[in-house]
Symmetry: C2
Subunit: 234 residues, 2 copies
Amino acid sequence: MTDDQAGPREVPEATIARLPVYLRTLTLLAEGGASSVSSDEFARAAGVNSAKLRKDLSHLGSYGVRGVGYDVEYLIYQISRELGLTHDWPVAIVGMGNLGQALAGYASFGTKGFRVVALFDTAPEVIGRTVSGLTVRPFAELDEVLCDQPIVIGVIATPAAPAQAVCDRLVASGVASVLNFAPGVVTVPAGVELRKVDLSTELQILAYHEQRKLLPRLEPADQPTIAATTGTAR
Amino acid sequence: MTDDQAGPREVPEATIARLPVYLRTLTLLAEGGASSVSSDEFARAAGVNSAKLRKDLSHLGSYGVRGVGYDVEYLIYQISRELGLTHDWPVAIVGMGNLGQALAGYASFGTKGFRVVALFDTAPEVIGRTVSGLTVRPFAELDEVLCDQPIVIGVIATPAAPAQAVCDRLVASGVASVLNFAPGVVTVPAGVELRKVDLSTELQILAYHEQRKLLPRLEPADQPTIAATTGTAR
DNA sequence: TAGATTGTTAATCGATTAACAATC
DNA sequence: TAGATTGTTAATCGATTAACAATC
């Protein structure tokens, strides 16, 4: 009712979360030589159902042709544009432990719209080292570095304890989006975007489903648990 | 209607995904000396609203006391049990690049129900090396290793290209849950649990929201983009 | 025109939330 | 008993899906 004034269309959050998958799928299709694709083929390749795919794409506009399908290159462009990948987003990573180093070298961080431009740590033995072509700077010099170049996305790859303080510093220095790999709850003021990747959460969700596979079997008769089954062999 | 036969309660997927956060929050509260907590305090610490928290907990059972709150230790136990963390889940990691090494050393993988028991790679220069106290084995010897010890959760930390093949081998060898860090779509047969952690997806979702902050400003007048703003200072 | 496939409608399903009765 | 707080109800919201009219 109050929604359709003007401005950019409101795309549902669930759709946004799937656009990256669609984009990657289209890139693979393009590499495979496809110039056009139907929602049916496309959906199969992306691992979703085709009604959902069409509904998702309809939120971006009418980029298909009835009776024909979608032009692969054109759709790649439109999704990239919608996601903001036609801009170049400078990224900083804080925490150069194992994970931070892995992220600094991670290919996806260096392609398609993202550029890692600064690395930070507090440990003297790490500061000054070169990781993936960048010198690790002291986190205390954050503001100095941000004077030289703007940073839009801050990645937190520290342990849990300093994560909130690091996040606060990043936000105070004008970083507008934060991707947090540290376990634990981190909060940001309104207007700052925060996403979280939590490895142990993912494992725990798998454990839950694993246990559910086990439980029904255990009820009728008493069967040995996973822990008890094998474990003897040499 | 057909649901409430017997068997373990069906807990909504959205609730399951929040249980790990609740568990971590409770652990912090316990470390802080709290023995009891109200849903209001608890919700604030976990970063959710208290109605949602109570609803979530009600799916596990009635573990609170009206007028009083929840016993912290008891709730820790109940959530752990629900998530299957009272079992011990053996984990294998495939791919010992930067990310795989980071994961092998990651604390969460070694605590609370999970134990990394095998590391695999195919590169001769990595095989035989010791990472976090474990010797990296050739992936070709997967079945041999699984004879010695069962593995329930397989973690894929390879590049995108071999991910599906690695996944197929894991599943064929009896691995029942897969956590995939490789970009791209990987599919598993029914009955096998699959979760995906995709770093570039997370970045792209941030980029979308970042762009949306920019767009409304650009419409009335013509303003410089982020890329054009700073960038002069030495 | 006939066949194909999109974009949209409407029904269904699941998740969130406020409010409050139950109860410690 | 009075005050506090849970567990549940019911309303609302958003996401999914099947079906099909629009249209190439």
